[in-house]
Symmetry: C2
Subunit: 354 residues, 2 copies
DNA sequence: CCCGGCCCAGAAAACGGTTTCTGGCTCGGG
DNA sequence: CCCGAGCCAGAAACCGTTTTCTGGGCCGGG
């Protein structure tokens, strides 16, 4: 029932071809007719049907973005960057929340293929699952076939353009920072299992320990799910277990926030009793108390570069590497006593056994 | 170049009509042929072109969302709610960041009309601008004409389905909370001018003061822009100006975070020296220190209800009202020097007229 | 044996645009 | 006066689906 191009043509007393040409301005039309057509367009409030257009042009003017959860600031920042570049190129952004379910991610890509999107950006790291990888390969092939592009954030076992932040390097750096402060028993609240992001960050952590000749203690690594509440619970369990540690490396800032809350509720002071570091450097991190020492990930840049790969598909450079940077704030301080292997202090503060 | 329905038909040795019917399952097809078609679909990795489909069906299976900035947690939470319901109904969500520019909002709606979206949700409050309202009316009419729906969050001077949180009531409540604590000089860091959200919240603030017989002091109300840094600057200016106040009502939590930082940097303690309240109750607000007293706005619910209005268009109920609730945490405490006048206000201080 | 009905498959007409191709008109040059 | 060029408008094909309409084959009843 909305006005069609024929309606406009009829009202202006011209053919549909002429209307189309006025709208697109890619063919000479006499000023007189042009005005009449424009007037008719205004009168009818006509807007061209993007689907009919997408049917003949190969491009649809939309891109798809797959993420875990839009209310996670990490993804929100990436999307912000994507939006910026999409806007400049006049494209619309389709958001798909997978809730970290690989099957849904695949289903979403298929839907997006149906939409004939100009490209798909997967913002979440990849899941180590054979079925998933196989399915992803297939979808990537399908996208390529239709002249579309799959852009990955993080390194996948799929040959496709990618933007990869240096997760391992950042984790190494921030762990090294703790080591330099004299901490030796450093706990790690890790991310959800089988995710590349989780593993890269854990690898950096283990690498830093190894570089100091410290054997990894499995008891110090507890699983999480990148959520505040999950980290709160893990951290509380860690404290309650009585295991000895003087610092915590949370796999991301959201988890660090949960850890801070758990420590506070257990009566432990940061950084006096326990040093805490996170990862990502979310905007909020500087406003926590204490302000969080963390690793800055250029989230908006990831989005901008990823979208850039769609707007100007590269001929050769398939992978864009992005540096991460340790940001030292007030949630870390030198290990008390500076002892490499401190005895459990009488106060019980640094080794919170009950 | 992606496979079309004809390719599938050819490979399966049937007509395109049959393929379509197998895919949609809305017409009897012999099992034998059905299998052959399914196999061909799989072989070719065929995915139906959503645009061609949208051309005949009236629905496109997409909805548009217009917001200021996706990296603002307020909007991110709303979108999360929208996503949930959109997923259930198998729809895709198009995100449009207007950066608070009314012209862009209009332009976006027009783009979305071209996409023949099933509906458009404007998440941001409305701007008091005649041109904008006129243009919005026109777009709303256009959407209605194409069987689509415009859903507004907040009350607009446009007759369209809406979801409106009780901003004024919440502002009244949280200001009353401060008044009950004995605060009399309460500063207000307000939002950007001419926004309904800003004005509703300010109205609640002024109403609460009035109910206590306190005249509004223009010097205590300073403009802001809903941003952390803007609020930081405003708050710092307020402190530096030497004006007397014992509490601050920030127009939203993001601004409260900026205020907290400014106060801390000026050596003022919260809540000992100054009480601070915000608005929205973002997920992070409980993890600030001190945890923020604020007004809970059911953001995800706003999104869910808004999307609900699109999925099941209402016949009569055009406006969904959503309650807000004061959440008291540790950023507020009784006014020092003892209750200036902590007694109840002159009777009848219930809630502001709506 | 004939005919009506049922089950299933195909032909073709939309849907709403863009673009190629065709052609009418005007104008200037020879 | 004729002809070619240039400018502009329209007719029609096409994009990839869905769906209506048509009809062939088969079965059962009369």
């Amino acid at each position: 029932m909305p006005a069609t191009i024929s309606d406009v043509a009829a009202r202006a007393g011209v053919s549909v071809a002429t209307v189309s040409r006025v709208l697109n301005g890619n063919y000479p039309v006499a000023e007189h007719t042009r005005d009449r057509v424009s007037q008719a367009v205004r009168d009818l409030g006509y807007v061209a049907n993007a689907h009919a257009r997408a049917l003949i042009k190969s491009t649809s003017g939309t891109v798809g973005v797959i993420l875990h959860d839009i209310s996670d600031p990490y993804f929100a920042e990436i999307v912000k960057g994507i939006q910026e570049v999409a806007d400049e190129s006049g494209r619309l952004v389709l958001i798909c929340s997978s809730q970290r379910d690989p099957d849904r991610e695949i289903a979403y890509i298929e839907m997006l293929r149906g939409q004939r999107v100009d490209g798909v950006i997967i913002t979440s790291g990849y899941v180590e699952d054979d079925d998933f990888v196989t399915a992803l390969h297939e979808q990537a092939r399908g996208l390529r076939l239709q002249g579309s592009i799959l852009v990955l954030c993080g390194h996948y076992p799929v040959r496709s353009p990618a933007v990869v932040p240096d997760n391992a390097g950042g984790a190494f750096g921030v762990t090294a920072h703790l080591l330099q402060l004299g901490h030796r028993r450093i706990a790690h609240l890790s991310g959800p299992p089988r995710f590349s992001t989780t593993e890269d960050r854990q690898r950096g952590y283990e690498g830093a320990l190894a570089s100091y000749g410290i054997p990894a203690d499995p008891g110090l690594v507890v699983g999480g799910d990148f959520s505040r509440d999950g980290a709160y619970a893990s951290c509380a369990r860690l404290v309650d277990s009585g295991i000895d540690f003087s610092a915590i490396f949370a796999a991301n800032d959201i988890m660090a926030i949960g850890a801070l809350a758990a420590l506070r509720d257990r009566g432990l002071r940061v950084p006096d009793d326990v040093s805490v570091v996170g990862f990502d450097d979310l905007p909020i991190s500087r406003d926590l108390s204490p302000p969080l020492t963390t690793v800055a990930v250029p989230m908006a840049d990831i989005g901008r570069r990823a979208m850039g790969l769609i707007v100007n598909p590269p001929s050769h450079t398939w992978v864009v590497h992005l540096a991460t940077q340790v940001v030292i704030r007030a949630s870390t301080s030198p290990h008390r006593g500076g002892s490499v292997d401190p005895a459990r202090p009488p106060s019980g503060a640094a080794s919170p056994a009950r």
